[in-house]
Amino acid sequence: MRNGDGVRREAILREAVLAGDEVAWQAWYAESCAPLERYVLWRCGQWRDLAEDVLQDTWLTAVRSIRRFRPDAGTFVAWLRGIAANVIRQQLRQQRRQRRYSSLNAEPAVNGSGHSASDRGERIARTLDALSERHEAVLRAKYLDELTVEQIALAWSESAKAVESLLTRARIAFREAYGPEAEQP
């Protein structure tokens, strides 16, 4: 739950940026940069190339549509994460289309190892994208934010048992969506 000061502060920053205050933007960017990067890298299965493209599109979209950000509806970083998730979805869709097109026009490339870092990253990204919002959120809280079950329960105003159960279901969903390799890393 956000406190009033946080909402007010981000509302002031938003107004300042809309008025063209570059210093306000630099401060906001500096404090939001690291959490967004961590999230994007995590969502992209640490596939750097995709993560960098996503970050670029996310920031440009954010600064273009800053007017749509509502401080009372959530934090700036949460809003950025929402944009990033959409950008990742678009990028993955685009890659799938390109792959389909290239497979029609060229011989299939044989990869020696079969699974490069990018393949693995892409699979993780696709799997996380396929999960429900709640499953993705609990996995994020556990693995990205490194919260304990008790801390998640407290933040979400739920019982630890419910969170534990949700975490188990989320792991199962992830494993099923990812495929057999999740069992043999």
Binding site: D21, Y29, Q46, R48, L55, I66
Partner: protein, 176 residues
Amino acid sequence: MNEDDSIESLLHLPTETVNDVLRAELLRHTSRRVRWHRRTRTLSRMGLLAACFVGGMGAMALVQALSLESRTVTVVVSTALRPVDPAAQPRRATPAELELEAERTFVRTESAQRFREAGDGYLRELADHRAALRCYRNFLDEADEADLVVLDTDTWLLTSLKNARRKEILNANADN
């Protein structure tokens, strides 16, 4: 290795970070956009001011155009007073011509009208009382009884003649 460990390895916390060059580049790009926000805000304010200015100018032009229209009326009046080429205007008949026309006309009312106009002409333009008297008498001879009523437009001579003629008729009726 259990299943949780395998997922742990896939979803572990990122150790990599985005390079500083990209960060700086993104900050530069986004700051440029923020500057654009400022410019658009300034431009929109200027646009608003310009729109107000143009609106004011438009209103003034409209007011001026309206006042010009009334001036145009004045100009039309002065144009009407300007001397016009006599050849272009239809020539007005002289009293003598009107009298002649009245003599030649077979339609009684028309003949009466011409005699009256000729009488007016002789009296007002030429001050020829004799000719005027002649024409007015002819007019009264040709005119109906309704034309004996004195009108505001009648000349003094015609008024006198009308009154005299009415008396004559009244006397004649009384004798009969």
